[in-house]
Amino acid sequence: MEILYAIFIAPFVEMGAYPDLFIQALWDGFVAGTLYGLIALGFVLIFKASGVFNFSQPILVVLAALSLVSFYQMGVPAWISVILVLIMFYALAWLVERLILRQLVNQDGNILFMSTIGLTFIIIGAAQWIFGGVPSAMIVDELGFPNGSLEWPMFGGGVYFEMIDVSAAVIAVIMIVILAVFFSKTKIGRGLRAVADDHQAALSVGISLNQIWVIVWFVAGIVALVTGIFWGARSDVSFALQIIGFKALPVLIIGGFTSIQGAIIGGLIIGLGEKIFEIYWGPLLGSGVEGWFAYVIALVFLLYRPQGLFGDKLIERV
């Protein structure tokens, strides 16, 4: 009986008793969710356009944040550093296409996936070699993002909104809109979709597969940079950031591997779900359930809706 009370009633009583805390939890879940969504977005872009499940997206986030900060520490002005990072990512996209993807055209999806694990290791080793392991603070102020926090007093407590989190949410939304428009309205975007649908067909209408791959990897790099800036601002810039990348996999399952909106909505479901669950139900299980709770949500989705919320249903043929 007590157990039932603890599971079904007490958490809700608590939510009602401290509404400021509940709203804060929702906000934190929302911000975390947007950032999970951004990581997932990087996966989706590349998967959509090339069918490659790019395992190296999380390390790209780390690489972007680290090199941005390093350029700045070398004395380059903040916004010039951003441009330098973008140039670097373009070069990286080109190299990846030349040296890896081009050599693996028409290989099985699993093989491409594994090659991106290899790429992850190459980047980890090289970046650690170059940047060392010392963490640094993200240069948010220097980039001109608003500082401080908003306070909304209520019910004897208050809800705090960090300005940097607000910026993160706003920019994430803007990015989604731009990417959605890019994919549906521009020539390159439509080309990307054609490639995703059928490599051969895309080739036959004169779309260069190689070029497209470079572009999507570059765009995924931009997304990685944005993710890196905001997640770096939440803690600091170090290799430990890549661990958060594992959170993006359940997001993909929920949102579908090919849907841009799905990435964000999946991110929000995971972000909100795990925060609320951890705070109100976690103590029953000895806390620390966040690490796998996202995966459980994803598994439930998989069993009932294997294609994700926005994915296409597959009809099997023989």
């Binding site: 693996l104 099985d108 999806g109 996999l249 620390g288």
Partner: protein, 362 residues
């Protein structure tokens, strides 16, 4: 010239179904066994210190070969990708620890095998989603297993007997009056036990994959729909692959803790290890038993050698060499996938083909 099948005719199917139909292969295996059982125990590896050879190379490589065999059964033969190998090794280790505390007098080898069986059951449970989902989606299911188990190894204090350290430790275990496990055991004793288990498990695995059950796994791997229409029940095939694979992985986990590390905590079973084992399978060769040996040896030994050579010959510091070996692993994966997606094993096979013809390249 040295390696040819001409003139070796089989008059019975049974002979052709033997593990090594070619006489040269039989000789080769015999030589390898002699090296493993006689040469290395007596001489070690020339140029390396004996303790280092045993403790840092031979024993871990044999243990990881068992892991790789297990993962290869699942990934290479049954086509089900898993990133939960690390945690499944943990299941083996923790259950072996529990069995040892509950039955302190039980022979440790029996403990190890029982813990393999426990892992097989756990693997089967976490393999259930594979019936419904495929490919990349299965990665998520197995990662869920990985993270849930990691959490359980920390939260469920019963698993580590409420030790303050939160870890599990091996103690001295005797068998026929000889200490075979624990801090006082001799490396050579542990070497022989691990080696013997490896040989035995290799033999069992090669039997299973050449028979009915192994074929059903490969059918599922190559074309699951066709397999089902021919009469393979996906439930049985997939779950038996998960179980058999986890059995190996569990045994290797128990061996890792009680015949090599001596103690462990959850960190020895985390997701980064799952990746290492995946690399062993890919580099060695998907769907190849020989490849499992090659992959485990290469992925384990090369970084060790890189570090040693870098340190002693070039005087590079550990930091540089560590990063260098991380890069090396990454490059090795990419190159292998580009050059020969079937790994070292296939390259070896191609070499053998060439030897068959040598010195006449036609």
């Amino acid at each position: 010239m040295f390696y040819r099948e001409t003139g070796q005719f089989k008059s019975k199917y049974r002979e052709e179904l033997a593990a090594f139909p070619l006489a040269e292969d039989k000789v080769g295996i015999a030589i390898l066994l002699v090296i493993a059982y006689v040469f290395i125990p007596i001489f070690g590896i020339p140029g390396l210190s004996y303790e280092f050879t045993m403790g840092a190379i031979m024993i871990p490589v044999f243990i990881f070969t068992i892991t790789t065999l297990g993962l290869n059964i699942l990934l290479g033969f049954a086509g089900q990708i898993s990133l939960g190998t690390g945690a499944f090794m943990g299941v083996g280790a923790y259950s072996c620890y529990k069995i040892m505390t509950i039955f302190p007098d039980l022979n440790i080898i029996i403990c190890v095998i029982l813990s393999g069986l426990v892992t097989a059951v756990v693997g089967m449970i976490f393999g259930l989603p594979s019936l419904k989902i495929k490919g990349f989606y299965l990665i998520v299911a197995t990662l869920a297993a990985q993270f849930f188990l990691e959490w359980a190894f920390i939260r469920v204090a019963w698993l580590y007997n409420y030790n303050d350290s939160g870890g599990i430790e091996g103690t001295n275990k005797e068998m026929f009056g000889l200490i075979v496990s624990g801090p006082q055991s001799d490396a050579l004793t542990r070497y022989f036990i691990v080696l013997t288990l490896l040989v035995l498990l290799t033999w069992l695995a090669s039997n299973v994959i050449r028979g009915r059950i192994g074929r059903s796994w490969m059918m599922i791997r190559d074309m699951d729909i066709a397999a089902e229409l021919i009469g393979v029940r996906p439930l049985t095939a997939k779950l038996s692959a998960f179980a058999f694979s986890s059995f190996y992985v569990g045994i290797s986990g128990a061996l890792m803790v009680f015949f090599w590390l001596g103690a462990a905590e959850v960190e020895s079973f985390d997701v980064s290890h799952s990746f290492t084992y995946l690399f062993m399978v890919i580099i060695g060769g998907l769907g190849s038993i020989t490849g499992s040996y090659m992959g485990a040896a290469l992925v384990w030994v090369v970084p060790v050698l890189i570090k040693e050579i870098g340190k002693t010959v070039f005087g590079f510091d550990a930091f540089v060499m560590e990063n260098f070996s991380i890069i090396f692993l990454g490059v090795a994966i990419v190159v292998i996938l580009i050059v020969e997606p079937h790994g070292l094993a296939r390259l070896w096979q191609i070499t053998k083909q060439k030897l068959r013809l040598w010195p006449f390249p036609y």
